[in-house]
Amino acid sequence: MPRQLRSSLVFACLMALFAIAASGQAAPRRPGELAWAIHYDPKTFDPAKVDEQASELVRYLTGGVLLRINRQTQEPEPQLAESYQVTPQGTLIVFKLRSGLRFSDGTPLTSADVAWSLRRVLAPATQAVVAEEFLSPSEVVVETPDALTVRIRLAKPVTGVGKIFDEIAIEPADRPSEGRVTSGPFTVTDYKRGQYVRLSRNPNYWRRDSSGARLPYATGVRLDILNNREQEISLFLRGEYDLIDSLSPDYFAIVAQKAPQSVHDLGASLNTEQLWFNQFPAAPLPEFEKAWFQNRNFRTAVSMAIHRSDLARIAYNGHATPAFGFISPANKLWYNNDLKYPHESVADANRMLAASGFHRNGNQLYDATGHPVQFSILTNSGNAARQKMAAMIQQDLEAMGMQVTIVDLDFPALIERLLHKQDYEACLLGLSNVEPDPNEMMNLWLSSSPNHQWNPSEKTPATSWEAEIDKQMQLQASTASQQVRKLAVDRVQQIVADQQPFIYLVYPNALQAISPQLQGVKAAILSPGPVWNIDFISRKEGAR
């Protein structure tokens, strides 16, 4: 072999080995540091401007807050605030701060810092997402009668006080630092775009454990930016990463095979997968099809014909829970335990269709005007579970004489049809619910909303039941009484179960992988999942 060719081959082999080695490497772990992957770069480290998950996680790990929602009980717990009070009218909130609080740089944290942070969040120029929760942020008045008291006067009572203040990080007044100076457990110390975000323990963090030891236990956190699930799993199995949140059922099976003690199925998540029919009156569909889709009996019959337990068992390898409403049983505070929903029965579904004039001729179902019942179900390509569910629903509905075609579209094309052209018959998609409070779903349920998917942007509610949903959702959004809110949301859940504008299919389960080397983890399905009690999580002594 010529020498030149030989040296080229050796060079190519070395490069290939280097590429293989580099592709599976994570940055070196520091002693006591936790490490896991996030899938993209945080858009910002400014806690007031957070509007996506990666930035939200960094804010959670670094930002000190007045109240923190306990992700297991869903109850607010005081943090920087020692105590708080909300007046019965819900228009005045008073926080009493802990004494001796300090920022990570050692400067004292007082009510002036809290007021500054709140005013910054409320200022229109900041464009903070959480400001919308105050309903009329410009009318909110923040007062500081003394160094440890903060008084917040609201023009309108707001709901979910705990959730709102869980999202407002307290920063040093007039010194926004993008996470470098914080009052939370960690501070941002290093960030390499596309590689990692490194957080270090805040030496002045206020919190201590029951024995008086300073928290957090971990010396730091390294968040690797890695958008490759297979590589993430491989690094987890090699012990480079400590956890993986939100595993898909397929990847769950891979990890379970190699490290069965690491995987955890926490049961139903807050997310839903649902099917709905296009009821938009101006949709470019034949009138007879619109009549089917606007017919409650038709929708209910379809719902009754779908074998949800099969969907959960087959499309999700058993890692999903059959769904009948928009609030998951995992959302203990808001789930309607007395919900009555259409039961699964093809015979009853057929009777219901017959009552509306539908009739069978051979294997085909026809409506009262003689049109064969044929329609398509859109879903997004690249989502294996949805594609499987669509194929199974196709067979379930075929048993009733409905001919269904499945159309997989890429997401932009799908959104174009759904939101802009309304040119579709039925759609199978999911909804990711990060927040358990139903207030977060106002844009889905109000009939005037452009996201009211089955019939968007109604000028006036098209039906009496939609008017009732509007009324109940507005009621729960405008009252401070938890009891009244719960009754209103229960009523909405029942209306949705009766009318089936969305035919709920499954709640995908929350699947996580947690290294056995970690201690102090209290798994929870609410975001940020397994690290919600980050203060108490650490690696075991001697863990590599």
Binding site: E230, D250, Y251, A253, I254, Q257, H307, D310, R313, I314, Q374, F375, S376, L378, S381, G382, A384, Q387, K388, A390, A391, M392, Q394, Q395, Q403, T405, I406, V407, D408, L409, D410, A413, D423, Y424, E425
Partner: protein
């Protein structure tokens, strides 16, 4: 000799696939929900897929659909290409230049995106059969320019051939010249073009299917079945997942052997 063996294998595959589809108690769409990812059994020779559908029947049906569709699409492509190439070859040179320019423009277009666009224009309620027919028609509609250029080159050389001059001298009309002389002379060119198109269309359909734009569910296609290979968890559960890709490679090799051993 090799060609005969290849033809025999291909014929055996087609015959076997036809028998499987015809005689099997299972329809390619039937979901046996109690036999998800079943292993090889006397009922399901090569097991079932993730929806409990018999893999043998689905692979056999995909083979028949793929071969039939690709062959039909290749016939259409060659017909369009031959018509276009001949028209350009026997037109005045400015017209020929424009026609070939059009063909080059068509050739330089990003065909995959065009295919995706054309395929997405289908009405949503198109049945799986309609989607299959449309997919192959679209492939045929986009596959002709490269062939047209080759045919144009070949046909242009015939203009000064002795038999052409003799034909003109004998008073043959253009139509007669095309039928009696030009097409027979072009056959050595058309046949390999046709044989190249068939595997190319099979692969193109597999690509479109892998993008979710091929043949609609539940009709089986190679593209849709190759999607299973994306799922590494599935690969660990059954080696039969590799059957579609193995069969695809065999079919492509057989078709390839026809083009390399063709007798001119």
């Amino acid at each position: 000799m090799k060609k005969r063996i290849a033809a025999a294998i291909l014929l055996a595959l087609i015959l076997g696939a036809t028998l499987v589809v015809w005689l099997s108690p299972y329809n390619y769409a039937f979901q046996d929900r109690d036999a998800i990812m079943a292993p090889s059994t006397p009922q399901h020779w090569t097991g079932t897929d993730e929806l409990g559908r018999d893999r043998t029947v689905r692979v056999a049906a995909a083979l028949l659909i793929g071969l039939t569709g690709a062959t039909a699409a290749a016939v259409i492509t060659i017909t369009i290409a031959a018509s276009f190439g001949l028209l350009a070859a026997y037109s005045p040179s400015p017209v020929a230049a424009i026609l070939m320019f059009l063909s080059d423009v068509f050739l330089s277009l990003p065909w995959l995106f065009l295919l995706m666009m054309a395929r997405s224009l289908l009405p949503l309620t198109a049945s799986p059969l309609q989607t299959a027919v449309t997919t192959f028609l679209v492939l045929a509609a986009f596959g002709w320019p490269a062939c047209a250029r080759a045919i144009y080159r070949g046909a242009a050389e015939f203009r000064s051939a002795e038999w052409m001059i003799q034909g003109h001298a004998c008073g043959l009309k253009t139509r007669q010249l095309v039928r009696l002389h030009i097409v027979p002379h072009l056959r050595p060119l058309l046949l390999p073009q046709f044989l190249i198109c068939v595997p190319a269309f099979i692969v193109a359909e597999a690509n479109l299917g892998a993008l979710g734009l091929g043949v609609g569910e539940p009709m089986p296609s190679w593209g849709a079945m190759l999607l299973e290979l994306e799922n590494s968890a599935l690969l660990a559960r059954s080696q039969w997942v590799y059957l579609p890709i193995a069969l695809l490679v065999v079919v492509l090799l057989i078709l390839e052997s026809f083009t390399t051993e063709i007798d001119y």
